[in-house]
């Protein structure tokens, strides 16, 4: 397997998610181009991602993993890392229950130094202005 994580387009990022990151493939994560040209990440609804069956609601850990993975992919896309960034810490606020439907995410690199990047992530379902979760994380760039 190539040790390189260079990504030249969102289409390449989408392929990488499906073929090279087993956990991202397990969750079914995909990448699309947003209107602004930045990547939008999609967590398609699947029954395996449910936590609470009674509500039903997406598993909080799935939403967290989705956002964390989105941040790693966003850093690769923005070419802030030539190897897979390593997560140092991750903090998530759950704002609304994740209903059994598709979930979207976008990321923002808040600050990027030589070795450390700070990234904000937001996840929503119908309306980006009504996020179901927001997260922030630090990554070590190899």
């Amino acid at each position: 397997m190539s040790p390189h994580w260079q990504v030249n387009s969102i289409a390449e990022l989408d392929l990488l998610l499906q073929t090279r990151i087993p956990y991202a493939a397990l969750l079914g994560i995909r990448a699309h181009a947003g209107d602004d040209g930045e990547p939008l990440f999609l967590l398609p609804y699947q029954e395996a991602n449910i936590g609470n069956v009674q509500l039903p609601a997406l598993h909080g850990g799935v939403i967290g993993g989705f956002l964390e993975n989105s941040a790693v992919m966003h850093l690769l896309w923005a070419r802030e890392a030539s190897e897979l960034p390593k997560v140092v810490d991750f903090s998530i606020d759950y704002l609304r229950s994740g209903r059994p439907q598709d979930t979207w995410a976008r990321c923002e690199i808040v600050r990027q130094g030589k070795r450390i990047a700070n990234v904000l992530m937001s996840a929503w379902q119908d309306d980006p202005a009504r996020p179901i979760a927001q997260a922030r994380a630090h990554f070590l760039l190899a």
Partner: protein, 153 residues
């Protein structure tokens, strides 16, 4: 000090429910021990849970799911009736990468329970609890569940 869960009959009834959550089954989570305030879960290594294929390191999201589920479960060791606990926030420090092919364990503790909020802390480790892979703290909102849902459990 080790104490039994607050209501063993209730915990025996409710624990299969959260272990049967679709995503718990997808990950392969196992409930290994429960005592008053504390729960230990195990997650056997599987290739599908890898985040870095070159080094075969578990994805951080897997660690997040394990800590979230184990932390929520620890609250039920203090309860005697069904209620909903929703994660408000969760913060995880990733202390060292998880080694491939080894089971990842999580010990979570609900160290403070109020009428509305549960406060938890958790440690994930592999062979040696003194060399944790990750540390997590979380808060949960407690809320009643509809009688129909409670009756189904």
């Amino acid at each position: 000090m080790w104490l039994p869960v607050s209501d063993p009959e209730f915990f025996a009834r409710v624990s299969p429910w959260f272990m049967a959550m679709p995503h718990s089954r997808t990950l392969g989570l196992q409930l290994l021990a429960a005592s008053r305030r504390k729960v230990v879960m195990g997650l056997p290594f599987r290739e599908e849970l890898i985040g870095n294929p070159l080094k075969r390191i578990l994805h951080g999201g897997v660690v997040t799911s394990l800590i979230d589920t184990c932390s929520a479960a620890s609250i039920y060791t203090l309860l005697d009736a069904v209620e909903a606990v929703a994660t408000l926030d969760l913060r995880i420090d990733y202390l060292r990468p998880a080694s491939p092919d080894a089971t990842l364990y999580c010990e979570a503790e609900c160290y403070r329970l109020t009428d509305n909020i549960a406060f938890t802390r958790a440690t994930a480790y592999q062979d040696d609890p003194a060399r944790p892979i990750a540390h997590g703290v979380a808060t949960f909102a407690r809320s009643p569940v509809p009688a129909a849902v409670a009756g189904a459990l």
